[in-house]
Subunit: 172 residues, 2 copies
DNA sequence: TATTGTTATACTCTATAACTATA
DNA sequence: TATAGTTATAGAGTATAACAATA
């Protein structure tokens, strides 16, 4: 039997028997995640979506996405770098970085400056406004976003989580 | 000074002084991630990309994406469910689930069956081929994909990571 | 010849409105 | 009227090729 002839056939094939449940119940209408709960990639993705969602909420007054925030942060930490260097550090492809920079530059948060030593490069600089917005964003992220995460997990777990994720990003 | 007049001006504003470095060096050409390394969402995203990349590699012989694998797994665990139930459990919007199912059904991995009790619903069933592919996929995932993750982190850390991510996905 | 920034383009994901057939 | 599946569509995000200016 490749395909059951009726939906009733399909349903009775392997319906879980009462008392056989190992995880989420089926009586409350919730579905069994089964081995999905043991799949790291699945929880990783669902958690990432939740965290980005909360980041956007917390930083909404400043209208910054996680990606934009990471660019501003990196520019602040690394003055004198060009587009290729900033983009590749963040895993952004150079062509896709152009529109991102256009958006930030049109809001006067950063600026492109022709390098004197290599006139092909654009050195990226934060403007004063960019630094001010970054400072406010950092406070919102620390006090609203990260604070909630630390509260949920506990400070030690939060630190351990961060370290494991960084290890995966680095070494996996 | 909102925007430095020359790139040289910009570069000298706040270039890190030797001995002042707290994280990644600047001498090897790597950029300073700075507070980015403390931002959970950043590491979460980078780790998630790495994990999905590896998943695709490991399961390449079966040509399954993480999303497709999660659908097959869920169908196996929850016979007799319709499209809306499966899609919403996975956080997939119903309109977007249609093309996904079309692809799986055209490969004869699953089938839609009109429900006898409610002729609007499509009950989803795994075919025998779908069950066979799922079984092979599970082995590849367990033996190649998850095994490498457990090796990298250690079994206890892997379990702790999974639990924290699930907690974030559930409660954050 | 190689590299920087750029344009064009395409493919995947995600999101919303609206249709149809059933209830 | 409400719901299930569907279509159409639009917007992000991501990927590659190729061009102009410069090295």
């Amino acid at each position: 039997m490749t395909v059951p002839k009726t939906a009733a056939d399909a349903a009775k094939v392997s319906r879980p028997v009462a008392g056989q449940d190992l995880d989420a119940s089926s009586d409350d209408g919730l579905l069994h995640l089964g081995e999905l709960s043991g799949l790291l990639g699945y929880s990783l993705k669902r958690a990432q979506l939740k965290v980005f969602e909360d980041f956007l909420r917390c930083v909404a007054p400043l209208q910054l996405t996680p990606a934009q925030f990471s660019v501003l942060l990196l520019l602040d930490q690394n003055p004198g770098r060009n587009q290729t260097e900033i983009a590749s550090t963040l895993g952004i492809l150079r062509p896709n970085f152009v529109a991102m920079l256009d958006a930030l530059e049109s809001r006067e948060l950063c600026a492109r400056m022709r390098s004197a030593s290599d006139r092909r490069s654009h050195i990226l600089v934060l403007t004063d406004k960019g630094r001010a917005v970054l400072a406010r964003a950092k406070k919102l992220v620390a006090n609203k976003h990260e604070a909630r995460l630390i509260e949920l997990l506990g400070p030690e777990n939060h630190a351990a989580l961060l370290e494991m994720l960084a290890k995966i990003a680095r070494e996996f």
